[in-house]
Amino acid sequence: MNYFPWLTLIVVFPIAAGSLIFFLPHRGNKVTRGYTIYICVLELLLTTYAFCYNFQLDDPLIQLAEDYKWITFFEFDWRLGIDGLSIGPILLTGFITTLATLAARPVTLNSRLFHFLMLAMYSGQIGSFSSRDLLLFFIMWELELIPVYLLLSVWGGKKRLYSATKFILYTAGGSVFLLIGVLGIGLYGSNEPTLNLETLVNRSYPVALEIIFYIGFFIAFAVKLPIIPFHTWLPDTHGEAHYSTCMLLAGILLKMGAYGLIRINMELLPHAHSIFSPWFMIVGTVQIIYAASTSPGQRNLKKRIAYSSVSHMGFIILGIGSITDTGLNGAVLQIISHGLISAALFFLAGTSYDRIRFAYLDEMGGLAIPIPKIFTLFSILSMASLALPGMSGFVAELIVFFGIITSQKFFLMPKIVITFVMAIGMILTPIYSLSMLRQMFYGYKLFNAPNSYFFDSGPRELFVLISILLPVIGIGIYPDFVLSLSADKAEAIISNFFL
């Protein structure tokens, strides 16, 4: 056991280093960019090092735990710790944020603030994944909204203010419920508030109260995940945001909702969860079909990808709702896999938009000849998104499927119906993603002479894409990379349901 506060260091380091950006000498954007990337890489290496040497895979308990008194008045501690569930998202955060910073190199408008916000988000995300205290979780959750709002409203597209406002209202509205839930749980029962997650796990509540708490948390996470009908902020936000912001949003932010659902709704409120799980199944199935059938109607490229990620979130909901070991593992795997794939897709969409300056699919066409590398990678990643075997998405969806059919909670007929409808989503997915490819790249088109100097992707863009592609294929071929992290914890969570 070592007492070095690794997690505190990891959480605080980016934002602390980021605030130094403003003290850097004014030497143009280059210094800021270089510094930020340096910080990001250092942080990623630090995280990897800490987890490599201080994390035991076969231990489902909290590790690297830290506990410092912060506000003694109501027992609010700076309490951090990770387990098998959170290690995956934390590593994903480090990975995606580093790549997003690299992707954001073309940003020149007020780049110091931009990079500071990126680093602040880095801290907020890692903080919320690693906090072991409800109030701390809430604070981190909120901390990370402000950078997103600013990133959207300053560096976005034409309708950025509308989408930023929509985003902040939606998520702040969700956060109200989160706060209600946090305070409710914290103040229930004993005289002094308990916010420690460890002690809260073993508590039980009256059914009605538990359901109320559950609904509160559920709304907060449903906005974030998003679950229909709370999803409309997502296409607007993604359609307007800069693509590095999109990478963060799609890659990590959405996953916080899923993480919260597992961490709080499943772990703390198991009875309510088993009451609500049929609704999860229904909502998840409907979401897959609904978003997949909305997606072909989108003309905007980024919105189409955004709806595809809404559709893929349905698999996470189903995995969580199935209350099986397998399903939960599938959900965790889908968190990681979709984080990688959607980040890469948004990056590709952004880079091709930088070149052609068309946002609408029906204006595009014939891009395969001028930008063959982007075409290749776009094809590969669309295939990954439509769950081609050998890529991570397939494994995740397959495991979720198995989670549902092995689920003991449901009867045969509902299971058949749900599996059937889910599988229809499997037909709809290639329709939108392949027609997106077709409209963008296939065919031929003469471009106007002044605009027609396209560069194919350069080494930086290739690096970003390849480094996302490698884990996607790696997980697809050997999914135990991720499953070995989460399997024990998932088992521990599920075992709560059968006590």
Partner: protein
Amino acid sequence: MEHTYQYSWIIPLVPLPVPMLIGVGLLFFPTATKNLRRMWAFISILLLSIVMIFSIDLSIEQIDRTSIYQSLRTWTITSDLSFEFGYFIDPLTSIMSILITTVGILVLIYSDNYMSHDQGYLRFFAYMSFFNASMLGLVTSSNFIQIYIFWELVGMCSYLLIGFWFTRPIAAGACQKAFVTNRVGDFGLLLGILGLYWLTGSFEFRDLFEILKNLIYNNEVNLLFVTLCAFLLFAGPVAKSAQFPLHVWLPDAMEGPTPISALIHAATMVAAGIFLVARLLPLFIVIPYAMNLISLIGIITVFLGATLALAQQDIKRGLAYSTMSQLGYMMLALGMGSYRAALFHLITHAYSKALLFLGSGSIIHSMEAIVGYFPDKSQNMVLMGGLRKHVPITKTAFLVGTLSLCGIPPLACFWSKDEILNDTWLYSPIFATIAFFTAGLTAFYMFRIYLLTFEGPFNFCLQNYSGKKRNSLYSISLWGKEEPKPIKNKFHLVALLTMNNNKRASFFAKKTHRIASTVTNMPFITIFPFGAAKTFCYPHESDNTILFVMLVLVLFPLFVGAIGIPLNQEVIESDILSKLLTPSINLLQQNSTHFVDWYEVVKNPTLSVSITYFGILLAYFLYKPFYSSLHNWNILNFFAKRGPKRILWDKILNFLYDWSYNRAYIDAFYTRSLTEGIRGLAELTHLFDRRVIDGITNGVGITSFFVGEGIKYLGGSRISFYLLLYLFSLLFFLIFLFFFFFK
């Protein structure tokens, strides 16, 4: 020799390095990779040859002592679910892998020449090698999950290769159609797999069969559910093998390069469906309804494919529909339980059809130089004709393929098709009638293709001379919508003359091309003198590589039938194929009744062969070259002069033509119902999303804005207004009090 089996896991892995290296190379070192392009082709052929030798070795061992070998390794484990990865070697696997590798090697050699001027030469080889790898993975896989994985990978390769020439909008549509149609099949396959897993708790074939059989015999399982699962499972092969409701992608898939059509869409990938049904036959056989469904789908496809092939103008589409029909035969055979016949036909058909496609590729290559690089022209049989003189070797090869596919006795397909036809008699007379009739149709359409392509005058030039787009002399107008006009003898005289003039020129051109090709080892396109195109617009033979490949492939239809012919009349199962398949047949617990009544087998060929000959004669009669058989004129004119019957005949022909030209209206139906339906649904949900769900959000936003504005207006910090408000509310309160208390 146990270790041969032990190392057979490398079969799918051997061709894999090529696509990976080419992909990495093209992304990072494009110029260097492109400079070494011939070397990549060489490596991929070499690796595939290694696999071929390996699989031949395996099957030789299996002839001697039949064995099934299986090895498993865990892939991923969660607590209550473990996926395993392994390989499964049985005779079916070794037959399929020999088939894939032999056709694959020949097609790779062929496409080295065929694609040599294409920009995407390397991309092509990468896709091809990846396809070979995943196809080999498919045939060696040992459980359902593995099958599904490779099944999808194969489909993706097909998607990429159909859309290989991505600048063509038709190809872009075709590849998407192929993928989505196949995904519909995969949907069924996945659901079937899940259902069976739920029933039996196993993915592994043999365990699953055993458990399911016991469950059914002990009546422990809902038969309806099992049947549903089997039907769903069957949807996968239906899509992949282009069977009836999901066949629409196959003709469109001909947009891909011709070597692809030979390898993927004729010989191997479309046979994967047959392979899967053959693999799962122990499962289907315990569910009688499933077998009935399989044979029903088979017979529908046989007939539909044949009728659709009747009037195609595009040579490759004609062949594609023929493939569909032949696959239907195999499916029919499997549905009848005659495992051996289906596999036999699978092998013979693969080689014959690969030969036909490679021949058509050679023709297209020859035509492209004249009519331009445009599939509507270079593959159009209307513009061909009379190629016999110009491309003699291709013609010979194509003829062998055609004869084999028609089922003319010494050639390969005769033996296998005859076996299937024979088995249909035992199964059901109605099916047998249809199957026999379709055998005649097969002969008819194959010879129609052959005659239109190789016999008669060369129509592209003729078109130039006569100055008409489609001249009435051409016999395709027999199928046309316009009234067939009486044939004028003037035209073909002119044609004959010009042909004589130009033959010398084209002969000369061929000579120079031959010489040039030996010197520079480059295809002919550069040498062709375009300036003088008017005087010699005749196609010439393809390059030596292409011819070599076709000549090698000619040997297969000639001799591959031998593996299924009983060498020794007394002993049943003396042929190689039966020996090889004995364990699988035993697995099915079939006694070999089908082979006992050998006299039936001898008796039947007379019927089938005579039907075939009748079809060929009919084709000759309708599409015969005009100059060669003058004595038939009178008969045709005689036909032409008969009034009312002629009109009826035309009506029938027009109906058939429309039926075939419009693809039996199935494509139109799908477009109308499904594509439009999905578009409509997308629009609807999009509208719903925008107006209702987003509308509520925006409505809340706007309402709060107005409320805020209203409050701001009310609270405008004017004392007089506050006083007014205060007095008014006081007044209301007083009035209220007054009414309430003093009433």
